[in-house]
Symmetry: C2
Subunit: 292 residues, 2 copies
């Protein structure tokens, strides 16, 4: 069994990006510049955004944190978005979700210039990805593809069952793995809450991507020997024996499934750490694609 080590792989990717940025600097080029918009002061959001900004600094990007009051009006936020779209010194930006309830999230995401949409949430980017054009791919599926590629997990002709059909994980990873190319050419089934006899499907699968959000849902009796497991689930489960009062659990009963798996992502330390690395990668791509 090989552990798909996202912590280690994300470090490698960050080092590669750092090297590329050093080379850009050495050539006298402007380095990539990422901005993050944070509305309000939700603790978790602050932590995420802070970690993204620090990662930018680590690899040598310019970064800007734009903090806005929680009671900002939708129209003022849209003006801010418009400014970011016009800012030629900026390669990409993200709007940290969730937004306060009085703001229409969809409206905000649709206002982001797709050429700066390094989160890859804009439909124009989704469509470009699905039609095999250059596109910003959302961080989670992009990170999964990187893990599969770098660990040379065989995918061509294999049957992959993706459990979950969300816009930012299940749907995009199902498309990417079924397209031509490295870590692609799989026969992909998308299963979801309405799927009948899920275990019959997962037992046939060579590769399973769990993106359901139910802790330890996938058990050993639901998989075959040699299966490849990608676990996207991250749920806090109450545990008073732990100093924080909770533990993080994936969608996979790790210990028992790992015994049958050929490759498996741990939780934490699997898919999770890949996301910031892929955000940085998208920002670098934005810089490279916008060289005009």
């Amino acid at each position: 069994m090989t552990l798909l080590d996202g912590k280690q792989t994300s470090k490698e990717i960050k080092e590669e990006i750092k090297t590329t940025v050093s080379e850009m600097k050495a050539r006298g080029e402007r380095v990539p510049h990422l901005a993050a918009v944070l509305v309000g002061d939700d603790g978790a959001s602050l932590t995420y955004v802070g970690s993204k900004v620090r990662s930018c600094e680590y690899v040598g990007f310019d970064s800007t944190l734009i903090r806005l009051e929680a009671d900002i009006s939708e129209s003022t936020l849209l003006k801010q978005i418009d400014q970011l779209n016009r800012d030629d010194t900026l390669d990409g930006y993200i709007v940290q979700l969730p937004l306060p309830k009085h703001i229409n999230e969809e409206k905000i995401l649709l206002a982001i210039d797709p050429n700066k949409d390094v989160d890859g949430f804009h439909p124009a980017n989704f469509g470009r990805m699905a039609l095999e054009l250059d596109a910003f791919i959302p961080a989670t599926p992009f990170g999964i593809m990187q893990l599969l590629e770098r660990y040379k997990v065989p995918t061509s002709g294999k049957h992959c069952v993706v459990v979950g059909r969300s816009h930012i994980v299940g749907r995009p990873i199902s498309i990417l793995m079924s397209q031509k190319g490295t870590a692609g050419n799989a026969t992909v089934t998308v299963a979801h809450s309405r799927t009948e006899n899920l275990a019959d499907l997962t037992r046939q699968a060579d590769i399973i991507v769990m993106a359901l959000g139910i802790p330890e849902y996938l058990t050993a009796d639901m998989v075959k020997e040699g299966v490849v497991i990608i676990d996207v689930g991250i749920t806090r489960v109450a545990d008073q024996s732990h100093p924080k009062g909770y533990v993080i659990r994936g969608d996979v009963a790790f210990d028992e499934v790992a015994e049958k798996a050929s490759f498996i992502t741990p939780v934490p330390g699997g898919v999770g750490p890949m996301t910031i690395a892929m955000l940085l990668k998208n920002t670098l791509l934005a810089r490279q694609w916008n060289l005009t």
Copy 2:
């Protein structure tokens, strides 16, 4: 066994559109206006475009056929596209494919305003469809969804195997059938040229969508009793006994598979006739969405 009669269903849809247009006229509203751009004088393309224009007239739409010389330059064609994008009297337009070899088809399709892209080939429309926003859906998958809906074919929780991963048929229909909604909520597998043991998959399927382009590929031994068959294949097969010298064959060995099927589309007369009806439907939607 129920025949999914695309000829009849497309007639019904056209009659519905015709009624809606009469009502628009009666209210003094401008009727939908579709333009078709035809470059060169390829015989098949002329036939298709002619049939689209006649269908527009039948339902009461305004229509414009723009014929351009085969040796038109890409930049002149792009100027024409730009004019169509700016034309406020036009709700939608199509550029008939294929284009002459000296023209970059992708560049032309990307230049079409997504709000007028009634063929649904622009990535912005693909992304909007995949992210469950209002979108122009390409005619073939849109037509299949209509057949499934109108014949009340059960899809929720059923296993659907889509054979083919093309941008305009296999990929979009796989997404639509797996989304929430009527004719949706299926567990969908996308199979393709690299799929191993295709027959093992199709034998499990409750619904099979064949979009492979290999005549009579799917045989009775590859399907289970009660299967629903959607055949998108349209291949000319040489047949000297026939006055035209060929016959049209689908991807399904119709006679033998029909004996096991609960629902099946004939070829011709199944999915094919639905496409023009869905182009008209998209044009009507364009008129309704662009009421501003």
